[in-house]
Amino acid sequence: MFETSPMRVIISLFILFYLQSCSTNNNTIKVKGSDTEVNLAVLMAEEFHQKDDEFLVSISGGGSGLGIASLLNGTADIANSSRRINEEEIALFSKKNIVLDSFIFAQDAIAFVVAKNFPIDSISPPDLSKILSGEVTNWSFLTKEDIPINIYGRQSNSGTHEFVKIILNIQFSPHAIQMNGNAQILEAIKADNSGIGYVGAGYVMEWERGNIKVLKIYTNVSPSISPLDSAKIASGEYFFQRPLFQYYKVRDYEKVKPFLDFEKTEKGAKIIHLSGYYPAKKIK
């Protein structure tokens, strides 16, 4: 009756870490991290296990930050991260004398989505900066219609959130609504004709795209490009695209090598493509 949730969270965290540190099997590769990458990683692990059932690969999400933290405290062998590791985290690793290496296994594109009947089809990064930072709060500057802008984004520790923030070099408007995941953002955009949201393009591809509109992005050097255009992504022309990283400890390289090698094969590339991402190979 007298619920005190913070305590409960903390205690269950302890139990979780305790349980996870118990299972140390040499043939189990534990992969943790970015929610953007988790679906892809699961498919990859399933195929890998079918090909080579000597290895078990366990995948879990939770976010890029959690993946890196788990790598640090030894509860993961590979940290999936949709952002580059930051200075603060590097310092923690070097304090423990752990040498890291990274591997780019796919490219992700961020899609900006609006309601289906939204009056514009494409937008530029400077306009997006103005919108997402809260500098303009009304669509009238672009569409001549006087409706307030609703921003739907991810939570501050999401890799997607971080990526958009860094590439546009903005502070997000505090009025931006923060959703739990890509699916919830799409759901909200469907119902809100004044909303704009950002999601991993991989999530849009699963949907029948009839319900929402994916904005094309133009810059002063390139014409409008859609994040769903795989050829353009492969050549690295889309503005909001980012590499997906896998971090691992150099001393564990032998252990994780079979899985990393599998990701580089034709089969791996095919899985990446089917999941709505773009194989890293073709991109400079």
């Binding site: 005190t4 949730s5 913070p6 305590m7 969270v9 933290a69 501050s156 520790n157 009025h175 923060q178």
Partner: protein
């Protein structure tokens, strides 16, 4: 010989029960210590003045609890505005008006309300209440403080109703009989005699319900939109302290300012709910003494 053994068994069980009691105390103390310890690490880096007076929670450089605190109060107070009249009137109905048959059905049903997982209620907030609110008020999105308040009101109702009903039942029958004998009707008796006499218990019920609402996490996380600006009204998205901790704790890098900041806001929330629970217990005890 047998007497000696009995004494030993007695002693043994006494120690076990003592130990279980102390474990609970140690747990509470340990958690409190951890919160305070980590909060100190936070206040070593960020001045408490900025923490309490800033206007933005932006975990890169601005750590102010104010928007979170205001959000938490909005949702909790909003839920009480809905749940208190509903809860107390239901309790009054149950104990004073309802026929025995209705009582035996309604009471377990209300208690079952407490058994619904908070994540399920949060889901209702997203798929049912959210669209409903957006249609009703003509706004674009229904994930806001009002949504959270309504859901938390539902979750606090079992607590408020159960304790209020106990309080109303505990009012001696002679009070009511005296009132009726003086010519007051049933309603006058209820509103002018029974409810005022049960007031300390009702206040306890409300405070314990409020404690429940303050600590709830999953429901508000799902249904309130989590925008970190200071809300201007009930139709704004809010981000409560609990939701902030739940969102950010999973991904925060360890031993960083941000990590300590989450302990600091957890510490504040702990103190608030501790205060409210103490106050609730105080009123509940007063009721017990009053009728002893």
């Amino acid at each position: 010989m047998t007497g000696n053994r009995r004494e030993k068994t007695d002693w043994f069980f006494k120690q076990i029960f003592k130990a279980t009691g102390f474990i609970t105390l140690a747990l509470l103390g340990g958690i409190f210590f951890m919160l305070v310890y980590n909060s100190f690490s936070f206040f070593a880096e960020i001045s408490p003045l900025d923490f309490f007076t800033g206007i933005q929670w932006d975990p890169d450089n601005k750590y102010s609890i104010l928007p979170l605190l205001v959000s938490t109060l909005f949702v909790a107070v909003g839920s009480m505005i809905i749940a208190v009249p509903l809860g107390i009137l239901t309790a009054a109905y149950l104990s004073e008006v309802a026929p025995k048959k209705v009582q035996t059905i309604l009471k377990p049903v209300i208690e079952m309300l407490a058994a619904i997982p908070s994540v399920a209620i949060g889901f209702l907030g997203i798929v049912l209440l959210g669209p409903g609110i957006s249609k009703l008020f003509g706004i674009q999105n229904g994930l806001n403080a009002l949504n959270g308040s309504i859901l938390l009101a539902i979750m606090a109702l079992p607590t408020i109703i159960t304790i209020s009903e106990d309080a109303i039942n505990a009012v001696p029958k002679s009070h009511r009989e005296a009132s009726l004998a003086l010519g007051a009707d049933k309603w006058e008796t209820l509103f002018k005699i029974t409810i005022p006499a049960a007031l300390p218990g009702l206040i306890a019920a409300v405070l314990l319900g409020l404690g429940r609402a303050l600590g709830e996490t999953m429901t508000v996380l799902m249904a309130t939109g989590n925008a970190s600006a200071i809300p201007r009204g009930f139709l704004d998205s809010v981000r409560t302290i609990t939701a902030t901790i739940a969102i950010e704790m999973g991904e925060v890098p360890y031993q960083t300012t941000h990590y300590f900041a989450l302990f600091a806001i957890a510490g504040i929330l702990f103190l608030i709910s501790l205060g409210i629970n103490f106050l609730g217990e105080y009123f509940a005890n007063r009721l017990r003494k009053f009728h002893a």
